[in-house]
């Protein structure tokens, strides 16, 4: 799929298609400058002139938990990207993380498709 083909997709499919090509893209409204995540067809103020821009990939952990089951544990975090939007994600290489930690995104390929995960920017794992 070419970038031109991706541009014809709905926002959800386009986001995943970019990820599968190794690009973490989020939306920004040209008229208002608002960033949007997760991808959709309108901003909260109603702007629809959304374009795809490369996410900076840096952010701060807003909230964090560790799901613990008999078959294993994994953390689930909410990250506030520096662009001002929030996303759910995980830090695969640490057990848990402090609220407020600085993190950096990378794309991880899984059997279910590519996903954005994060790593600590400093050694402040909880």
């Amino acid at each position: 799929m070419t970038e031109a083909d991706i541009a014809k997709l709905g926002p959800q499919a386009a986001y995943q298609a970019y990820l599968d090509r190794g690009r973490f893209m989020i939306q920004r409204a040209a008229s208002t400058g608002e960033f949007v995540f997760w991808p959709r067809v309108s901003t909260g103020t109603g702007a629809t002139d959304l374009e795809w821009v490369e996410a900076r990939g840096t952010g701060t952990v807003y909230a964090a938990t560790v799901n613990r089951t008999r078959s294993g544990s994994w953390n689930v975090v909410l990250v506030d990207l520096d662009e001002g939007v929030r996303m759910m994600s995980t830090l695969p290489d640490v057990e848990t993380v402090k609220v407020g930690a600085r993190v950096k995104a990378r794309i991880e390929n899984t059997p279910d498709g590519a996903r954005v995960v994060f790593d600590l920017m400093t050694r402040d794992a909880a």
């Binding site: 909230a63 964090a64 938990t65 799901n67 613990r68 996303m87 759910m88 402090k98 609220v99 996903r115």
Partner: protein, 384 residues
């Protein structure tokens, strides 16, 4: 006491529960049916008198149709608004509006679930959120754990504070023979419970029970002619900002900050007027959030507010006197059980846990992952 809008226009004249705790051998609809039949009888009415149906369940795509068919009703007004556990506080408002407009004369609000004996886990029709799925959240607890983590980081709330909520609920449950989880519980036991989603352990989670509840509302002028002591609708308010926890603007502030004042404004009541506060305690953090958001203490102070038995029997504020979702009953959507306890207390039928004077009760329902917030206020005839 002055209020607004439909304040005092309707009353709950029949209320019943069925299958509280465990009801082996019964389907969800059978339990709902038992509660409905008992509530209608409590109201001194016949099933055929019901011409308004208000219901939501976790197992029926078209719950008003299913209830109507099962009970052999012929409703001329029905509303199946499904905003999770808060649906039933919303239904009180919808039923009151429909009664007041003459669109129906006897409104049945009902719910039933057999999730405990059917499988022992939370039953949900909730669809996954595509942007969350890659990270395998275990909702609802993951969402509530995220909120708790944020509250702790921002305000210094501790696991001991959360434990105080669980202990207060158990102390009330120990006064309620219908409560499912009874018996002694210590803070050490709560803190040692198995961690499920940090910082929430099994002791921070509501029960998984069976249970059904139903109430019947009529217009206020008709309520006086019926046999049960009427419990009047004084006010209700709703607010909703999100569906996914990712879209909740501030995980420490629910839209109860809006639904509560709306309900209290309609009812014309202040905090000092409230004798009973029923809060949807799916998890211990809920009680803390709703005490703050409904204005019983400043934002961030909820953890300190619940210390030293403040909301336990004999404490300064009567909260969740049935034992709550944590220790009494939680069949998946708990909202109607908040109303059942308020009716029981206002009628003066709460036995060992009866409050000295219970004239006005606030019921606060929460739906989804801290999403839909619906507050309803009920009162005795003396406060009309």
């Amino acid at each position: 006491m002055s209020g607004k809008g439909p304040r005092g226009r309707s009353a709950i004249v029949g209320m019943a529960t069925a299958g509280m705790g465990e009801a082996p051998g019964f389907s969800a609809m059978e339990l709902l049916g038992q509660a409905a039949v008992k509530a209608v009888a409590d109201a001194g009415l016949r099933l055929q008198d019901v011409d308004g149906v208000f219901t939501a369940t976790s197992g029926h795509a078209f719950p008003t149709m299913s209830v109507t068919e099962y009970l052999g009703l012929r409703p001329r007004f029905f509303d199946g608004t499904n905003v999770g556990g808060s649906s039933f506080e919303m239904h009180l408002l919808q039923a009151t509006l429909a009664l007041d407009a003459g669109l129906c004369d006897a409104a049945l609000v009902c719910y039933g679930s057999n999730q405990r004996t059917a499988g022992g886990r939370l039953v949900s029709m909730s669809e996954p959120q595509w942007h969350e799925t890659p990270y395998k959240p275990r909702h609802p607890i993951t969402a509530y754990a995220l909120a708790a983590s944020r509250h702790m980081a921002q305000f210094g709330t501790t696991r001991e504070d959360l434990a105080d909520v669980a202990l207060a609920a158990r102390a009330w449950a120990n006064l309620n023979p219908e409560a499912f989880a009874r018996g002694p519980l210590t803070k050490d036991e709560v803190l040692a419970a198995r961690m499920i989603s940090d910082p929430l352990s099994a002791a921070d989670c509501c029960l998984v029970t069976d249970g059904a509840a139903a109430c019947v509302l009529v217009r206020a002028e008709r309520a006086r002619d019926l046999p049960s002591k009427p419990v009047y609708f004084l006010g209700a308010g709703a607010a909703n900002h999100h569906r996914s926890i990712v879209a909740m603007p501030d995980l420490t502030v629910t839209s109860a900050t809006e639904s509560g004042p709306r309900a209290m404004d309609m009812a014309g009541v202040t905090h000092a007027d409230l004798d009973l506060v029923m809060l949807y305690d799916a998890f211990t953090i809920n009680t803390i959030l709703f005490l703050e958001d409904l204005g019983f203490c400043p934002k961030g102070e909820g953890g300190r507010f619940v210390r030293d038995g403040r909301i336990a029997p004999g404490g300064g504020l009567a909260v969740n006197t049935n034992g709550g979702g944590l220790s009494c009953v939680h069949p998946g959507m708990y909202g109607l059980f908040l109303i059942a306890e308020a009716v029981t207390q206002i009628r003066g039928e709460a036995g060992e846990r009866q409050l000295d004077a219970c004239h006005i009760a606030l019921c606060h329902g929460s739906g989804g992952t801290l999403a839909s917030q619906c507050t309803a206020i009920l009162g005795a005839e003396a406060v009309l």
